[in-house]
């Protein structure tokens, strides 16, 4: 046995050559990656750690110039106030609704659009380009277009509603906290403004889902589908049993990414409603605490809470899908 092992082992010189090569690669790798690491460390990692410290301190923006970076008293006051604040609980609830339904809406729209333009037709490239527009255009422009579209005085939506659909009066979509819809004599309360920002989010980000699902569809082999068709499967059966199972992986990934980004989203709500009319989310609350109330400690505590929620969700995701990721 020993003899066999020795025969299999590389000759001493060869082994040394491979060793120096690996060491050289390792050194080059670290050297090349170090600018990236330094930027990320200085502008992201250290600030985040500092934010953690800030969230345990009583710091206001006015005293910032005299601020002792690490010193000062540590206190749980910020978190204590947070958990007892009605505003915070309200924002947390809105954030959850906004991210869950915004993500679901984006995926449903994206999947539908991808299935529609899957087969080639004349002008398909142009249609694909147009459908991507809401995702590439600047969020500031998009939000103000929607603001004008939905405006009670000069928006085309309300003009259409009152002239054609016979609404009694224009609906202030972005400033109405709760409206009622009456269907067959039954009135249902609807959080109008929150619904609008969710619709905006779904509309703005469906192209992301569309693009990735379409790319995955392109790789779905036509053979199985053809075989199913020959066996008499209808289009909906083919979709349900052959196409959808193959898309689940990419849909799960999109769901996680979109949920995280929607959970973090600030621009959309700040620009559309300013967080008013029952649309305050955690991100806009962080901004208000920092800018308007200049309470650095409290805003850091809310932001830390957001990060903690995401970290837990991410760990859960990796636990369930991590194995598959590593295989891919």
């Amino acid at each position: 046995m020993a003899g066999q092992l020795e025969i299999g082992a590389p000759a001493p010189t060869e082994r040394r050559a491979r060793g120096t090569r690996a060491r050289r690669d390792s050194r080059a790798g670290l050297a090349l990656v170090s600018p990236t690491i330094i930027v990320v460390l200085v502008i992201v990692v250290l600030p985040v750690l500092w934010a953690l410290i800030l969230s345990f301190q009583r710091i206001r923006l006015l005293g910032i110039r005299r601020l002792d970076i690490l010193g000062g008293e540590y206190t749980l006051r910020n978190y204590d106030l947070l958990l007892n604040s009605q505003d915070f609980l309200e924002a947390a609830k809105n954030t959850l609704l906004y991210s869950v339904f915004g993500t679901m809406g984006a995926i449903v729209l994206g999947l539908t659009a991808a299935l529609l333009v899957r087969r080639s037709f004349r002008g398909r490239g142009l249609v694909r380009g147009i459908l991507l527009l809401p995702y590439v255009a600047p969020v500031v422009a998009l939000a103000f277009i929607w603001q004008v579209l939905l405006s009670p005085q000069l928006g085309v939506v309300n003009a259409f509603g009152t002239d054609v659909l016979g609404w009694d009066q224009p609906i202030p979509f972005l400033s109405q906290e709760e409206g009622t819809i009456t269907i067959f004599g039954i009135s249902i309360g609807v959080p109008t403004a929150l619904l609008m920002v969710i619709l905006f989010e779904a509309w703005k980000s469906f192209p992301f889902a569309f693009l990735f699902i379409l790319a995955r569809l392109q790789a779905v082999s036509g053979d199985i589908e053809e075989a199913a068709r020959v066996d008499g499967a209808t289009p909906t059966q083919t979709f349900r049993h052959i196409i959808l199972p193959q898309l689940m992986g990419v849909i799960a990934l999109i769901a996680v990414l979109r949920f995280i980004w929607t959970f973090n989203a600030f621009d959309e709500i700040y620009l559309l409603t300013g967080g008013g009319a029952g649309t305050e989310v955690l991100a806009t609350q962080v901004y208000t605490l920092l800018q308007a109330r200049s309470d650095v400690g409290a805003s850091a505590a809310v932001a830390m809470f957001m990060a903690a929620v995401l970290a837990v969700l991410l760990l859960v995701y990796l636990k369930f899908f991590g194995e598959r990721e590593r295989e891919a």
């Binding site: 080059a28 600018p35 502008i43 910032i64 527009l133 995280i260």
Partner: protein, 290 residues
């Protein structure tokens, strides 16, 4: 034969529904953009008069709103030309630094085995998933304290950090498709590591680098939160995004707001249409695997 009837019914229904569905999606995506351009060229009084009109009356076409937005402030305008220059500088600066740094990082992650590689890669990705608003607090406090907050180059640094993970990821995906044998051949010929990157890998990666660069530019151009936090008090350094948003803080007619939005949107749409295929392929590469 029930199955067969259902089959024919579904096929017939789809034949009708598919074009309708496509038309619906084109309408909901294109109409808001059309509406923006439309309003920017109408008279505000006419809009209030007939908000449901979705075409421009022959007698009311006007470019006054654009004039007002673009003229310098001392001539009574909003000074958007200046904001365009700021946004362009910010975008280009971000692209140059990000690309330079991410080429090196992506090459290392794609090609070389080094200590802590997995950790580095994981950290990059998790950075991208952190709430930007969390990052905003310490950076806002730090740069306020250093009295550097209103400077454009400070924002370049922030944008570089924000775009690096995505760029490293996109470029790494590309580098992994370049055959290693090409580089090894060059190494056998006595080229050093940097020479291999410059002479062999980079020329092959030009399309991928261009796509990544365009992405970075678009992210920088469209960014709003940090521009708002850092530049708000420094009007001379406003970006176009911030300029449009600040229009809503004063009494501005909707036509002017839409003209500003058109000016903000057009450069990005032009860039995108110009390089759509390049960019979407760069982003979804690897997605086919599922």
């Amino acid at each position: 034969m029930r199955g067969s009837r259902r089959y024919h019914f579904e096929v017939a229904a789809l034949r009708v529904l598919r074009p309708l569905g496509i038309a619906f999606f084109v309408l909901i995506t294109a109409f808001p953009f059309y509406y923006m351009v439309l309003l920017s060229m109408r008279e505000i009084s006419e809009i209030i008069e007939s908000p449901g009109q979705i075409w421009i009356g022959l007698n009311e076409f006007t470019t006054d709103a654009y004039e007002r937005v673009l003229k310098p402030t001392d001539e009574g305008g909003e000074g958007f030309v200046r904001f365009l220059v700021n946004s362009a500088l910010l975008g280009l600066g971000t692209v140059l630094v990000t690309i330079a740094v991410s080429i090196l990082g992506a090459y290392a992650v794609a090609r070389l085995e080094f200590f802590g590689k997995r950790t580095v890669h994981f950290t990059f990705l998790s950075v991208y998933l952190f709430p930007p608003i969390l990052l905003a607090i310490p950076l806002f406090v730090a740069f306020s304290r250093l009295e550097l907050r209103g400077e454009l180059w400070v924002l370049v640094i922030v944008y570089v950090a924000q775009t690096l993970p995505l760029c490293v990821y996109m470029l790494r995906n590309y580098f992994e498709t370049v055959p290693v044998s090409l580089e090894e051949a060059a190494e056998v010929d006595g080229a050093t590591r940097m020479q291999v990157i410059r002479k062999v890998t980079l020329p092959l990666a030009v399309p991928a680098i261009a796509a990544t660069g365009l992405f970075t530019f678009m992210i920088a151009w469209n960014e709003f939160l940090f521009a708002l936090l850092f530049l708000q008090e420094e009007r001379n350094n406003w970006t176009v995004s911030l300029g449009v948003q600040q229009l809503t803080q004063i009494e501005t007619p909707a036509t002017t707001l839409m003209a500003g939005s058109v000016i903000l949107t057009v450069p990005i749409i032009v860039l995108f249409l110009f390089a759509e295929r390049l960019m979407t392929e760069g982003l979804t590469r690897g997605a086919e695997k599922g």
